[in-house]
């Protein structure tokens, strides 16, 4: 009785092994059977690459919720200024033909990784992270501090260096912003920074930090903010015309 049971187990094991071997050998063979007709269908059928929208701007008012950001004069906090500045920018950008996406419209506390995720999914032509400070003077425009000559990452793109591929575009974007703000007679500084989530963005990105214009003009000054917002819209319009990535890069899935 014991021998009989053992024989059954051995036979069952052999059957399973034979079946799995057959399955493994048949799997690689499947692609070798060429389609007998309509060969062109397989050659020409590249996945439809949706045209990257050239008019989407992502605004990320930094801080919010239980993260107030910097303390500013007149009992203001950074999160209020960045949100107000985003609200000021939106209609100006819309009137220039841009579609504006914001990471948050309410006083919400979003982790920087989540903000980067929203920005990366927006497929924006430019991502602007808005900040405000009481240190320094004028407007600070920061791009990622990742090295310029870093090798282009392959898929999957590491999260910490996701900005590498877009860095040349980001530097042109920052330069356009700098030129427009300079023409508006606003003092500017072009800097490099690792402020999150700059390094994690796949879109051309810059952080715009409003600092007091001078001793008498704090960052909460509405005239100053309006002047800066108009110059930023001018810069983005110029960037879209001259420097934005091509509308439909052939074969480059986005």
């Amino acid at each position: 009785m014991t021998i009989h049971h053992h024989q059954i187990k051995t036979a069952a094991t052999l059957c399973l092994l034979a079946l799995s071997a057959a399955a493994q050998t048949s799997a690689p063979l499947a692609p070798k059977t060429p389609p007998q007709k309509d060969q062109s269908f397989y050659v020409n059928q590249t996945p439809t690459v949706p045209k990257p929208p050239r008019n989407i701007i992502l605004l990320d008012p930094a801080h919010g919720g239980d993260d107030p950001g910097a303390s500013l004069p007149n009992n203001a906090v950074e999160k209020e200024v960045t949100q107000a500045f985003a609200i000021r920018l939106k209609p100006l950008l819309a009137s220039a033909g841009f579609t504006v996406i914001t990471t948050h419209d309410t006083d919400a506390s979003l982790p920087t990784d989540l903000r980067a995720g929203i920005a990366n999914h927006s497929r924006a032509v430019a991502c602007l992270i808005l900040h405000a400070t009481s240190s320094g003077a004028g407007i600070h425009i920061a791009t990622s501090a990742l090295p310029d000559d870093a090798p282009q990452p392959h898929n999957p793109i590491p999260w910490d260096i996701a900005q590498t591929a877009s860095l040349p575009q980001s530097l042109r974007l920052a330069n356009e912003l700098g030129l427009a703000l300079d023409q508006a007679k606003l003092p500017i500084l072009l800097i490099r920074s690792s402020t999150p989530p700059l390094d994690n963005l796949t879109c051309p990105a810059a952080a715009i930090e409003l600092a007091p214009l001078n001793k008498d003009t704090p960052v909460t000054d509405t005239t100053y903010q309006q002047q800066a917002a108009q110059a930023i819209v001018t810069a983005l319009t110029s960037y879209r015309t001259h420097n934005a990535p091509p509308a439909n890069p052939a074969g480059v899935p986005r």
Partner: protein, 201 residues
């Protein structure tokens, strides 16, 4: 006439009091011995005179966003780790001066500097990060100033990481990333103005 049982009780109580007093005295003596055992009466090492030496400080300026290398004289010990900590405290002390172009609160900024094989781990004090001005530029300048100064003093170091009170921290004061490892390089920097040429590149 006092009854006999009351006299016996009296002497028993007196004996109990004497016993408890003896027990208390013994306990006090034991506690005193334990406490005095902790007092290390060994004299501390006599201070040795240290000569001042030239160091390079990478000083930041908020007005133009620059980092400039400047020579300074400071007395430093020989131990590399303590040397790095004192050097950074000397650097931050420059920013507490009334004439500083990158004003920071006075006070000790660095708790420790741990030197590993080719990496320096700077353990900042929580009081320093709590009182640091908040902003993209101002925080980045502080980090670049520390990195440049450490690189000049310890050229063998290739990477620098930051902790706050011994723990990893997200940002310095809400902006500059403290989670990443920074390359130890010469951080001398002067922002370039925007140009039409850069737009055409």
């Amino acid at each position: 006439m006092i009854p006999r049982y009351q006299r016996v009780l009296f002497w028993i109580l007196i004996g109990g009091i004497a016993l408890m007093a003896a027990f208390l005295l013994h306990g006090c003596q034991q506690a005193h011995k334990r406490l005095t055992a902790f007092n290390d009466a060994t004299p501390i090492a006599a201070p040795t005179p240290a000569t001042t030496e030239d160091v390079t400080l990478y000083l930041a300026s908020d007005a133009d966003g620059s980092i400039t290398a400047t020579s300074s004289q400071v007395a430093l010990p020989q131990d590399p780790s303590i040397r790095a900590r004192i050097l950074l405290d000397h650097l931050i002390a420059q920013y507490a001066l009334p004439t500083s172009a990158h004003p920071l609160q006075p006070g000790s900024a660095v708790d420790d500097v741990f030197l590993l094989k080719n990496q320096a781990v700077v353990n900042l004090r929580g009081s320093f990060t709590d009182n640091h001005p908040s902003g993209v530029l101002v925080e980045d300048l502080t980090l670049q100033s520390i990195i440049g100064t450490l690189h000049a003093a310890l050229p063998q170091i290739t990477e620098i990481r930051f902790l706050v009170d011994g723990e990893p921290h997200d940002t310095l004061a809400g902006h500059a990333n403290l989670q990443r490892t920074y390359p130890a390089t010469d951080t001398t920097f002067k922002p370039t103005p925007p140009s039409e040429e850069a737009t055409q590149q």
